[in-house]
């Protein structure tokens, strides 16, 4: 088995419309197995587009991309859907929970679609729920729980089928700092416990500092990357410095 889980080469994405816009201008990127990488960059730098191309939500205009040596863009719709729910896990800024389902049903959704048998479902559910500490809200509806709880449920759903790659798009964007902190701690322990590879888009340097490596994007290109050293505090400072250097459109700082 290869050491590289995600391999992106010369990825281009153009939006054609009244105004043509090149969102991605050739990105080369590799994610190693069991690596945790954050993607940062100013608004409009193309980081979400990049993630969407990897998560097969958006189709790239040009370039190649393989996940586990498989090219998802060669699959038909049904196989692609299967691929998404077996190989990938998603965590979104807006949680993306199904409102008609209870918390428990939301978590089980990927398994029911794959028609996993009931016994395995129960055992996997129990494991994930214990890990995330959401036993008490299992029978609740999605609008009865807090934002932090919602994100935990979304994470539970993303990891219940043990994906090889977990993708997160601004997972703390809708959360207060306390909830954000606990969600990030969770990501870190999932990464350590389940050996999951993680790719996360964020604009928050504190959130980004949970990763092992941070890549910076600007104007649809990879600009820079920083490896985490021994100290998280130092890592955080480096991230902030890079962002300050990027400056310009980076309002969020």
């Amino acid at each position: 088995m290869s050491d590289i889980i995600l391999n992106v080469q010369q990825l281009h994405k153009d939006y054609v419309g009244e105004v043509n816009y090149k969102a991605l201008k050739g990105i080369d990127f590799q994610l190693k197995r069991n690596e945790f990488v954050s993607v940062m960059g100013p608004s409009g730098s193309g980081k979400t587009t990049f993630l969407n191309c990897i998560s097969t939500i958006d189709r790239p205009t040009n370039g190649s991309m393989t996940i586990n040596q498989k090219d998802p863009y060669e699959l038909n719709d049904e196989d692609l859907a299967k691929f998404r729910r077996s190989e990938l896990g998603f965590v979104f800024q807006d949680f993306n929970l199904v409102h008609t389902l209870t918390v428990e049903e939301n978590i089980l959704l990927p398994l029911t679609l794959d028609a996993v048998n009931g016994k395995e479902m129960t055992s996997r559910l129990a494991e994930v729920v214990r890990f995330l500490g959401i036993e008490d809200i299992m029978k609740k509806r999605t609008f009865e729980i807090s934002g932090g709880q919602k994100q935990r449920v979304a994470i539970a759903r993303a990891v219940i089928h043990e994906p090889s790659l977990l993708l997160a798009d601004e997972p703390t964007g809708n959360l207060d700092s306390k909830a954000a902190n606990s969600v990030m701690t969770l990501f870190q322990s999932i990464h350590e416990t389940f050996q999951t590879s993680l790719l996360m888009v964020t604009h928050d340097p504190y959130v980004a500092s949970f990763a092992e490596r941070v890549i910076f994007m600007q104007d649809g290109m990879l600009y820079n990357e920083i490896q985490k050293g021994d100290h998280k505090q130092q890592f955080y400072q480096e991230i902030v410095d890079t962002l300050t250097f990027l400056g310009g459109g980076y309002h969020e700082l």
């Binding site: 859907a81 990938l88 029911t112 479902m121």
Partner: protein, 616 residues
């Protein structure tokens, strides 16, 4: 930027929200307009407003208008619901509720006038074609083109008033809190269906109690009259609603407990059904009732159309019947008969001629026939009476005659042997006929009427002969009475055709109303559904799985109402099966089958369009 400018921009910039509302309004008006085009046709002046046809026309116009009223209110409310969120934006940016109401009112009136004018315009363009269809359907040559000034004026005035009232009413439904609430929360949860076993039990009980006298004691029904019918109607409508919602709840619970709940898309489908249980139930209910109305109108009106031949024969038993009054000079009678017989000789096919007579007590409108004279009227089975027996024949169709008045005319009491309910002569000519032994008849001292009757083969096709004879021989009271079932049949057939046509139009209205309700419902929920499926697609729901869920949901919305309506229809038909002919059942089944075909077809079209919009 003036207030009216905002109103116009609201419509122009958001035309797709308005277009469905506009189209369903145009449709309602158009149907009503067409209806009036027929009703005000110069040809229709010939129809007496007090006749069955006149009353049916007036009644139907009223139904169409009331229905348009209800339907436009419904469309407007559905439209308003869709708009509530954008109204919230106005309210939050400082518009008072009064201003928002004024804005919505003006928008509505603007659309209303556009709809009225469009409908009349389209109506005028299509009306020649429409009148041509009417002409062919009714087989009435005189249904030509005309300028329907009255219809235009009436449509315009009535719908302006209607829209004015409806807009006034519906803007009252705009609630500030609700609109702002909608703006704040991205997910609003509609109320789930609650189990209401007592209400269910009570409603069924009340309906059952009300239904009972219908079968057991018709006199109670008659004494209560319209009140009873209204009560029964309302109670049935409520019962259907409660049974439907509780049935949906029960089905959801069953599905949730079933072992396959966690398999494939079942969970998504069932939970969606549960979350939208109430609004689904409303739509299914409305569609069921409308469909039932479609079934009943087509079925009932067809039945009236179907029995024309039988009904005609029941009142006018002969192709031609000539009754000669005792005062009619014998020469004239002979001359008339000769004319009739020579005319009839010219037709193809056999002509059976019968000759008979009866004596009558004019004061009591009682007729007497001898056994021989009765047997001479060939359409009935011959009887043989012994010296002291008599036989009774009804004189009015559908009325039980007095069976023993004959005793007043004879010395020794006679013995009653039987009753013929079918007419032997034109219905209503005499109240009752007594068939008595020849000897007793000869002894009776009452004036005698001569009867000449002719029966033609394939009489329904012999209209020209009937016209020829009737133009020469008309009834002259006190001398001769001429009647023909051929011309009665032709007249009746025309009336029934008009009624049938009206019924067809009514069912078309109901059917399209059902379709627009469905359309509105899907339109309103589209945005939310689209977002939901987009989210699920991201985490790995395939198009195929999505298609499965959408197909199941749409089939519930379309075929459940159909099944409910068909079941109710056939339950009703089965309970009155004795009064119906097997042919009627066959025709109803065919009719329901055609509608099923239409529904299946629209199901596939709707599914395709809806799916396309969902993934767009």
């Amino acid at each position: 930027m003036s207030f009216n400018h905002i109103v116009i921009q609201n419509i122009v910039r958001d035309k797709w929200t308005y277009i469905s509302y506009f189209l369903s309004s145009v449709f309602s008006i158009l149907v009503f307009f067409f209806f009036l085009i027929i009703a005000f046709h110069p040809m229709m002046d010939a129809i007496d407003t007090n006749s069955t046809l006149g009353i049916v026309m007036i009644l139907c116009s009223m139904i169409v208008y009331i229905f348009s009223f209800v339907f436009i209110i419904y469309s407007m409310l559905a439209f308003l619901k869709k708009k509530t969120k954008s109204l919230g934006v106005f309210i939050i940016s400082g518009a008072s509720t009064k201003q928002v109401r004024k804005m919505v009112f003006r928008e509505n009136m603007l659309i209303a006038f556009a709809a009225i004018i469009t409908a009349i315009g389209v109506g005028l363009i299509v009306s020649p074609l429409f009148l041509m269809v009417v002409k062919n359907v009714l087989e009435a040559e005189s249904f030509g083109m005309y300028v329907p000034v009255q219809a235009i004026a009436m449509t315009f005035i009535l719908f302006s008033v209607l829209f004015f009232i409806v807009s006034q009413i519906t803007t009252r439904f705009i609630k500030k809190e609700e609109a702002v609430q909608l703006l704040k929360a991205d997910v609003t949860q509609e109320k789930l269906i609650r189990p209401t076993p007592w209400r269910l039990f009570l409603s069924i009980l009340v309906s059952a109690v009300l239904l009972l006298p219908l079968k057991e004691s018709p006199d109670v029904v008659e004494s209560l009259g319209i009140v009873y019918i209204m009560m029964l109607f309302i109670s049935l409508l409520m019962t259907i609603y409660i049974v439907l919602t509780q049935g949906i709840l029960f089905t959801i619970r069953r599905l949730q407990k079933s072992a396959s709940y966690y398999r494939k898309t079942n969970m998504l489908f069932v939970s969606n059904l549960q979350a939208k249980g109430n609004s689904h139930a409303h739509v299914i209910y409305l569609l069921s009732i409308l469909l039932l109305a479609v079934f009943v109108t087509t079925s009932v009106l067809y039945s009236s159309y179907y029995n024309v031949e039988e009904n005609t024969e029941a009142v006018y038993p002969y192709s031609f019947q000539y009754i000669s009054h005792p005062n009619n000079p014998i020469e004239k009678e002979q001359q008339d008969i000769e004319f009739m017989e020579t005319t009839l000789e010219q037709t193809e096919g056999d002509v059976d001629a019968y000759q008979s007579a009866f004596k009558t007590d004019e004061d009591r409108r009682i007729g007497f026939l001898s056994n021989t004279l009765f047997n001479a009227l060939g359409t009935h089975e011959a009887i043989a009476l012994s010296d002291n027996q008599y036989y009774v024949v009804a004189g009015n169709a559908g009325v039980m005659p007095n069976t023993d008045a004959i005793q007043d005319y004879v010395d020794d009491p006679l013995q009653y042997v039987g009753l013929e309910e079918r007419m032997i002569l034109v219905s209503g000519f005499r109240a009752v006929y007594y068939v008595i032994p020849d000897a007793i008849y000869d002894a009776l001292n009452y004036p005698e009427y001569h009867v000449f009757a002719y029966e033609l083969e394939e009489w329904t096709e012999k209209r020209d002969i009937a016209e020829k004879i009737e133009s020469q021989l008309m009834t002259e009271p006190g001398e001769r009475y001429v009647s023909s079932k051929i011309s009665l049949y032709a007249d009746e057939l025309f009336v029934k055709r008009v009624i049938f046509f009206i019924g067809f139009m009514l069912s078309l209205i109901f059917l399209s109303a059902a379709m627009s309700i469905l359309y509105f419902y899907l339109q309103t929920s589209l945005a939310g559904e689209k977002e939901k499926y987009l989210g699920m697609r991201k985490i790995g729901l395939s198009m195929k799985e999505m298609r499965v869920i959408v197909t199941r949901e749409l089939s519930i919305l379309i075929f459940v109402p159909f099944t409910i309506a068909a079941m109710l229809l056939f339950t009703v038909l089965f309970s009155i099966r004795d009064a119906l002919s097997p042919a009627f059942f066959q025709m109803t089944t065919v009719g329901v089958g055609i509608i099923l075909l239409l529904f299946t077809l629209s199901f596939f079209i709707i599914r395709k369009a809806y799916f396309k919009k969902l993934v767009a």
